[in-house]
Symmetry: C2
Subunit: 377 residues, 2 copies
């Protein structure tokens, strides 16, 4: 079917009403302002990508992987002592979760950060609100094991137990409910069904009102809807960035989950080593980019203040490559859930305030560090 889209509707269409919840203090434009440089020290961020908690949740293998993921997070946090953590999507593997509320796995993923008192933000990947996918084997002679619907299964108005997934909004609401350290936001309703669209300011050490860096979070879709950054999100980005940083004086970093098509353009040849100007250590698969693109890369290139984009999604890639005036970087597969057996780690971002500099490296579970790259100076 590729019929003309019409805006005239012959029946009512419905909207999830979204409470725009925020924990960190916001300015009038909705920019979160809880983060700040402290005089003289660099500001360090750890990216945790593709943790995939809850993978194969029904057998022994899955929970064991999650314990290993806990260890990755703990080691990186203890080795790098970051000022801030970004969960870069695919925090959970919802399509493996035959439960009405997947938040227990979300909680597990943020716990190592929370218990260390480190603030964090999350954004959504394509697995976070995916519908449960019944394993084909459950229909064989092995069968579906004896199952039951306990009283506590009622959740968010769902009276019966169903496997239709926990929505992005439900997940985010649960995260925000009891976590003052979370800087995540349920983004503007006009960007629905994309949810994790928001901006955080890292304030100057000299003046908490003065921005030194802006961090933009975008929901690149997937799961319950297509893998795409919508035209509405692009417009929102353009309007917001113009309003808060009209003179392009404040450096801007961008975070989402699924690589854009531009990543394909700059990618090192498949399975070859990663050569300069790219920097990284694994190049084991093709870039799996978004389903469509409606202009986000042009919007970024139009702003000289945008220094780099950071994505996850491809577990077998961890490089940064230049793309015109900015850098396109993969994070590093951090979780034991999800495909791939490459050693786990975390991309670290470190910024200085004055003069601004942006450097990055990968910090492994075993404490080793590699792939240092200067992204802006």
């Amino acid at each position: 079917m590729s019929k003309r889209m019409s805006l005239s509707y012959s029946f009512p269409v419905f909207l999830i009403f979204v409470a725009t919840a925020t924990i960190a203090c916001l300015d009038g434009l909705g920019v979160g302002k809880g983060l700040r440089f402290s005089g003289g020290s660099p500001f360090r961020i750890a990216l945790f990508a593709d943790l995939h908690y809850g993978e194969n949740a029904w057998d022994d293998w899955g929970p064991k992987q999650d314990v290993k993921s806990d260890r990755v997070l703990s080691n990186v946090l203890d080795n790098e002592t970051p000022d801030f953590v970004i969960y870069l999507g695919d925090v959970i593997t919802a399509n493996n979760l035959p439960i009405p509320n997947a938040s227990m796995y979300w909680v597990q993923a943020i716990s190592p950060t929370r218990i260390r008192g480190i603030p964090w933000a999350t954004l959504f990947g394509n697995h976070d609100d995916a519908q449960f996918k019944w394993p084909l084997e459950w229909f064989s002679i092995a069968g579906i094991p004896e199952v039951r619907c306990p009283p506590e299964s009622s959740f968010a108005g769902e009276k019966d137990c169903s496997f239709r997934g926990t929505t992005r909004i439900e997940l985010m609401k649960m995260e925000l409910l009891k976590n003052p350290l979370s800087h995540s936001q349920i983004g503007p309703t006009e960007l629905w069904p994309a949810v994790s669209n928001y901006i955080l300011q890292i304030s100057s050490s000299k003046d908490p009102e003065s921005p030194s860096v802006f961090l933009y979070f975008l929901d690149s879709g997937g799961g319950s809807y297509p893998e795409v950054i919508s035209y509405a999100q692009i417009k929102w980005f353009q309007e917001q960035s113009q309003a808060i940083n009209p003179n392009l004086q404040v450096p801007e970093l961008i975070f989402w989950h699924i690589p854009s098509h531009a990543y394909k353009k700059v990618a090192p040849c498949r399975k070859s080593s990663i050569k300069s100007p790219c920097v990284g250590s694994i190049n084991m698969e093709e870039v799996d980019s978004q389903e469509a693109e409606w202009g986000i890369m042009d919007a970024l290139l139009n702003r000289s203040s945008v220094k780099a984009v950071f994505v996850g999604h491809n577990h077998g890639l961890d490089w940064c490559c230049p793309y015109e005036k900015l850098w396109l970087c993969f994070a590093r597969h951090s979780g034991y859930g999800g495909y791939g057996t490459w050693p786990r780690g975390s991309r670290i971002i470190e910024m200085t305030e004055d003069p601004f500099s942006l450097n990055s490296w990968i910090s492994m579970e075993d404490g080793t560090k590699h792939s240092y790259v200067k992204l802006s100076s």
Copy 2:
């Protein structure tokens, strides 16, 4: 991931509790007994396959197709005056329905039969409870049109409007609620998540307790779970058929939606004409069979009483071919929703009681009939 399945669970798994609802009178084994031969007359069934009501529900094209489907149903019902109608799955295109309750389209599909006072039964296809699939175009500059969540959108305990699909059980409950002419059943809970598993008896004209034919309905999955007939369903079929027809004296017909692998074995060569012993008029695509098979065909072949299997799913196929001692038949694409532009029609099944005979043909929207085939005598 192809890890060993384990039956030891480390967290609670949940079950939708299902009320086994029935409208037509049942015997102790749950066999529906409302249908009966009338002395001397054949018993005629019309199969409506792949109606796909609600396709592109958001634009003008979709509702117009549904009106055309109404016309197909009305014409066939008026031309053939069947004693019974079977809706052979993909009654609706749930993945095109951004509404919390898809039952309004289900109601539309059964209306032409209901208003003529003809009894019917339904079974599920792979589109009936599919999750809404967001059109990629909605994320382009055209955008998602202004949408709203009206108060009446609350349904089955869902307080917010969501696009996560209407479940098989919800659809079936809604059908049964106000339709005494429906012979559908919500099948045994132990076959969950398959729902449309049940047996109807066509009773003898001489004795309403005595069976002349058994009709078996099986849910071949798809949508919210894999396209498969489970081992549990096979076991249920074996036990039920053995209990109600131990001596194989009563002829048995089988209905489900997605063709089994055996259909591939007997299929005429792609795009060639349909040659004897097969009978049919369109052979325009490959058989799109179930994802796995755990033995249903062996179970059917073990019973000499099983005369034929009827499926839908492939809109470009309408043939019957022999497979060992039974016949494998496609119905005919009946709806204007769904892919394909081949003229719409309905497979008709006609049985005589004594002696038993089973014939079939295809009855088109325009009143023409073709592809007569004797399936048993």
